[in-house]
Symmetry: C2
Subunit: 397 residues, 2 copies
């Protein structure tokens, strides 16, 4: 342990708020050196987004842990020059400006490629860098709405519903990480650079999986169907004495085990429930049989019994339960503390990638605005201290 899988990989992270920063944070956790480049005096929008701890945004800290912070005015001529010097030293650039902005700054992919032909340029935007909507601003909620996720989340008769986390941004950030890592693999093999063009909307559309297939194969428009699934049943939430419990008996084997545990082997012979597709078609009747059984027990009783016999079952965890869960917080160490110079001890969410030989975990807290300017401009770019002071006085950094 100790070294990371991306040791030696240098990333310039111009991205803001959540999608791009999440990608950069995952890479920093794996050992990449990630320079978070922010607008002088102002910084990332998310610095003003709650929640806060001692006045510092922990929204920002979670998304930017382990990065080195520097400021740079990309509109200033000297700022552009410094940026090109940084690009020459980078493997990967991440940016989340509205498409066309980098070109307007004179820093589009074609220009940066001249400075560094092997550069992997990773962009993330609402709708992508091509097409009629490409210049439109797009944020998480646009991805969730335009990509079809909201129209299929929620309850029959209820409103379209977004997910409890900025899922458009998360899916976009993960897709961006896959894109730049695939390009990095190709760079190892061929020396070639690449431009990666990820959109939040495309990322959501890809995530719609079998839901899109329903429309294309059956011509049926998928609706909001609550907690049951289109492709399998009984795989749903069920009422108990003290709340809802999740049961996921998604294939024949698990269904048989469930019926046996319920003492309802007779259901195995019922023609309404013979195949997965039969059970989906007759899900209302199936739910009644399962709930007749779960309603006589508590959430924990059902979950314990079913997990014992290998049928997936779980309580619906609130975040406080997640935070103290012996598996999630305990064995998997999904929450770790970092020490921030102003906020103090901050608990952030750990990296979800677990490796046997190398580690992926937050390496440090997030930077204050421009905290590592001297390391970057004097250390990496070899400017002297007087130049640093001048650049600062002129508002270039």
């Amino acid at each position: 342990m100790g070294m990371g899988l991306l040791d030696g990989v240098v990333v310039l992270d111009l991205t803001r708020v959540l999608a791009g920063p999440y990608c950069g944070a995952l890479m920093a956790d794996m050992g990449a050196t990630v320079y978070k480049i922010e607008q002088p005096g102002r910084g990332d929008d998310s610095r003003s987004m709650g929640p806060f701890q001692n006045g510092e945004s922990v929204y920002y800290i979670n998304c930017n842990r382990g990065k080195l912070g520097c400021t740079l005015n990309l509109k200033a001529p000297e700022g552009k020059k410094l940026f090109l010097e940084l690009v020459k030293k980078a493997d990967i650039l991440l940016e989340s400006y509205r498409p066309g902005t980098m070109e307007k700054l004179g820093l589009g992919y074609e220009t940066l490629k001249e400075a560094n032909p092997g550069l992997i340029y990773g962009s993330i935007s609402g709708y992508g860098h091509t097409g009629p909507y490409s210049k439109r601003a797009g944020y998480d909620i646009i991805g969730q709405a335009a990509g079809g996720l909201m129209s299929t989340t929620g309850w029959p008769g209820g409103s379209p519903t977004r997910t409890g986390t900025p899922m458009g941004d998360v899916l976009g950030g993960l897709s961006l990480a896959i894109g730049v890592l695939a390009a990095l693999n190709n760079k190892h093999a061929t020396g070639e650079g690449e431009k990666v063009d990820i959109s939040l909307v495309d990322s959501v559309v890809s995530a719609m999986m079998n839901i899109n297939m329903i429309y294309f194969a059956e011509g049926r428009i998928p609706q909001r169907i609550g907690n049951r699934y289109e492709s399998t049943y009984p795989y749903d939430s069920f009422k108990t004495k003290d709340g809802d419990v999740i049961i996921g008996a998604g294939n024949d084997k698990l269904y048989r085990l469930l019926c046996q545990e319920m003492g309802r082997e007779d259901l195995l012979e019922d023609p309404r429930f013979r195949t997965v597709s039969d059970r989906v078609a007759n899900h209302e009747a199936m739910k009644e049989y399962v709930e007749a059984w779960t309603l006589e027990q508590t959430v924990d009783e059902v979950a314990d019994r079913l997990n014992k016999i290998g049928v997936p079952s779980s309580p619906i965890n609130t975040i406080d339960r997640v935070a103290r869960d012996p598996q999630i917080a305990g064995a998997r160490k999904m929450f770790v503390d970092v020490e921030h110079p102003v906020a103090g001890k901050v608990t952030v969410t750990n990296n979800q990638l677990k490796f046997t030989h190398r580690e992926a975990a937050p390496q440090a807290s997030a930077p204050l605005l421009g905290q590592h300017n001297e390391d970057v401009y004097c250390g990496l770019l070899k400017l002297d201290k007087a130049e640093l002071d001048r650049l600062k006085a002129e508002g270039t950094i």
Copy 2:
């Protein structure tokens, strides 16, 4: 165009249903040679999951496009031997068995590493390979419930709600792709292999981002709050004459533009709405002002006006709208046809990764069960046709 970023990368894909297969499909789209290895006679569970086209599961086809299909009985002694021969020829193995199953088969990471020290072993499971719940079965709905996503999705006073797509599986599959690609990068640099241990639950927990931070920084348990967000406002759905429209004015600049367009510059001076945090705190009052304006217009009128001035806005697309959207289906080509030997022309969801120099897109349809057995066993492993027939007759393949 033409060549992919993962050309020459060989993947053995033992995974089933959605999470692992999605990862393998994204890699196949990028040019990796992905061998989908299935149980003889039965195959992946998702072959029996709808939707269907000419009796073939398009759920399966979407998740397994571009893969080569072979069958192999991993319980048969000769099946194990053949598998080890395949492992020697692979860069990456993907598996989604319940933790411990591969060890029980005598094919755990330690054994496979002896056959191929550079192997990247990517596992995906409900709770991960370590900890007290590691042996529990975990499917998508378990990830969504245990990881905190369901408890925070939905409406005040309403039920915990899953997302409209198997999001736990999707997040797990994307995380698995990041893990194996990061390990592949390290293999290029050092020659080392790696075991990657992804859990659906951890992947959901990581995706909870600022929602987790609310609990740790404020001690408050995040609730279901409908379509508004915890960290910014006005960024929500709003009623119009003919349905709900999304507006995402998440920062000061966008908020100013929105107020100007509404003819409500007076709100910019209102102390209740001065900062992002003020607007979150007074979201109910803010919503009334915005809705007084949106209710006099249609969804399209609001979206068109706001997009013209650079404020993010979108209809809430149903899947049929997504499927004919000029940006998504048109410019971004997010739906493509593949030709399946039985199902015929099948429309699948395209890869969300767009590159400038290389292509990521479905290369072919998904295989019939064992369709490429001869290519794999005679071509790759150099068995002769008589051996192939014997293995088939004995149920090994």
